[in-house]
């Protein structure tokens, strides 16, 4: 058992995958708490879909090296656009997001479908390729992680006030739209960092699930942040180990990124189940 968790990662390509996954898990866990508090799961989903055509165009223009720059351009545009939509309260925000995310996603799929290796490319863009990440990918993720730390530590109190009481924040003189832009940009950067490893679709789970699980376990913001970060890292590690062991030991091919997500979801399900049992038990004890 213990060997399953450690032994595979002596191989360099798996060690790189582990570093990338754990780094990403921590990053997504922490930023996910912001997503949770602001109830931005849908906006995050919209950003992930909007990034997709950027990934494709980047790849078409300059191959693998073009993916991150392409994603970055789209992510920055998406974050700015969505902040603007939220700021002009006249349009129905949900509908506008839905239209944009499907439109961008459609553009991405149309572009990919012109490729000969259509299916393989599409799969890679959507679900990532964590076993082929290189040092550049790790550096990108690390840079985003450092940026996320700076934003969450430096602007933590302002983002907290804005999430809890937007009217109060506005009355205190804070520029809500500017704060939201920073937050949305951060989410967009996390999506960009995750593109190579887990793809544009699965990153939403890595952002939302650890934070949601942590929220079930605690009412304290500090604890939620720590647990979400820890869970993100643990899920990434366990997921990779399980995926590797399944294919090596049992001949079952499990996609690494998706296995990580499933491990995280399993944690969420376990915690929910545990809490239901505890509730029933307390009721019975009364």
């Amino acid at each position: 058992m213990i060997e399953t968790l450690f032994a595979p990662f002596s191989r360099p390509y798996l060690a790189r995958a582990l570093v990338e996954a754990v780094l990403l898990g921590a990053l997504c866990g922490a930023v996910g708490v912001y997503v949770l508090l602001r109830r931005l799961a849908f906006l995050t989903d919209a950003i992930t879909h909007t990034v997709f055509p950027g990934v494709v165009v980047g790849f078409l223009v300059s191959g693998r090296a073009g993916i991150v720059p392409g994603a970055l351009v789209c992510a920055v545009i998406a974050a700015g656009l969505f902040t603007a939509i939220a700021a002009t309260r006249r349009v129905n925000e949900d509908a506008a997001l839905a239209v944009l995310l499907t439109a961008f996603f459609g553009i991405g799929v149309v572009l990919v479908s012109r490729q000969r290796s259509y299916t393989a490319d599409l799969t890679a863009f959507l679900f990532g390729h964590i076993l082929t990440v290189d040092t550049t990918d790790i550096v990108v993720t690390a840079v985003v992680a450092v940026l996320a730390c700076v934003v969450l530590v430096g602007l933590g109190k302002e983002l907290l006030l804005r999430a809890f009481d937007p009217e109060g924040a506005r009355a205190a003189g804070y520029r809500i739209t500017a704060l939201d832009l920073v937050g949305n940009m951060l989410i967009a950067l996390v999506v960009v960092a995750a593109v190579q490893a887990v793809g544009t679709v699965l990153v939403i789970a890595m952002l939302v699930v650890p934070a949601a699980t942590a929220r079930l376990l605690s009412d304290r913001l500090g604890v939620i942040l720590a647990v979400a970060t820890g869970l993100g890292m643990l899920g990434a590690w366990l997921g990779l180990a399980v995926s590797f062991e399944a294919s090596r030991g049992y001949g079952v091919r499990l996609a690494a990124g998706a296995t990580i997500v499933l491990v995280l979801v399993a944690c969420y399900a376990l915690v929910t189940l545990g809490q239901s049992i505890r509730r029933v038990a307390t009721r019975a004890a009364r």
Binding site: L37, G154, L155, K157, E158, L160, L161, A163, F164, D165, E167, G168, R170, A171, A172, G173, R215, S218, D219, R220, L221, I224
Partner: protein
């Protein structure tokens, strides 16, 4: 009650406040002085919240002017504290009572820095001023509506404001919390703060406030409670919602 009044804190000079082209509130004219509590009264939709937002610089003044501490409203925000209605805030939000009160210090702390010991002490003192120091570690949403309202007042007190704006703080609040709120507000005015509070409670406006501003889309009276809260002006402001009760009596039906 007569007490020496301070310098003008908020001056409305024939102010009309509009969202887009439609005027939400017209011709508000009067002064709130330092050390005074002024009640904003009027039926639902009268424009009480709009007037509060105008003082906070969140809605534009279309004509006339609103002056806060001798400046334009948006420029005075650092010395103005706002207390929203507690039930507009998410009770599931994972934030402790102490954290909420500490938010009142954020503007003083400034960007990029964490609150320090002085801020924590000010927040603790503010929480004690509303009688809830024993609930500091609890989650905000676990408190009763009245207690949450007191926590939000504590947050405003922690900011040490010169002007305090409260939006319907007594709505659905139990008697204990109402007394605690009023006590803490009086402490603030005794130290020279100007307080504006919107309320449906005319009795409270009459007994506990130094001035009353009676609104329904426009101003119907602004002055001492005895001058404004007369059957004639109330009848004019509330229209069909005012029911006569003989001589000097009048009751107001809430729609």
């Amino acid at each position: 009650m007569s007490k020496p009044t301070g310098p003008p804190a908020i001056v409305f000079d024939h102010a009309t406040i509009a969202y887009g082209r439609t005027a939400a509130l017209e011709r508000v004219h009067g002064t709130v002085r330092a050390g005074e509590i002024v009640a904003l009264v009027g039926p639902n939709g009268a424009g009480k919240s709009t007037l509060i937002k105008a003082v906070l610089g969140l809605v534009p003044v279309a004509s006339g002017s609103v002056t806060v501490l001798d400046r334009r409203p948006a420029e005075a925000r650092r010395q103005v504290a706002y207390v929203p209605q507690a039930d507009t805030l998410d009770p599931d939000f994972p934030v402790s009572v102490a954290q909420v009160v500490l938010m009142g210090r954020y503007r003083r702390v400034g960007w990029l820095r964490p609150p320090g010991r002085v801020d924590r002490e000010a927040a603790a003192a503010a929480l004690a001023a509303v009688g809830l120091e024993h609930r500091a570690a609890d989650r905000f949403g676990l408190l009763s509506g009245g207690q949450r309202q007191r926590v939000l007042l504590a947050r405003a007190i922690a900011a040490q404001p010169a002007v305090l704006m409260l939006d319907e703080p007594f709505n659905g609040v139990d008697a204990v919390s109402q007394e605690a709120l009023l006590g803490a507000i009086r402490n603030l005015t005794a130290r020279g703060a100007a307080v504006v509070v919107s309320t449906h409670d005319l009795g409270l406006a009459q007994v506990s406030c130094d001035g009353v501003c009676l609104l329904n889309r426009r101003q119907f009276g602004f002055g001492p409670p005895d001058d404004v809260l007369t059957p004639d002006t109330l009848r004019a402001a509330y229209g069909g919602a005012a029911l006569e009760l003989g001589d000097r009596g009048l009751i107001l039906a809430h729609s």
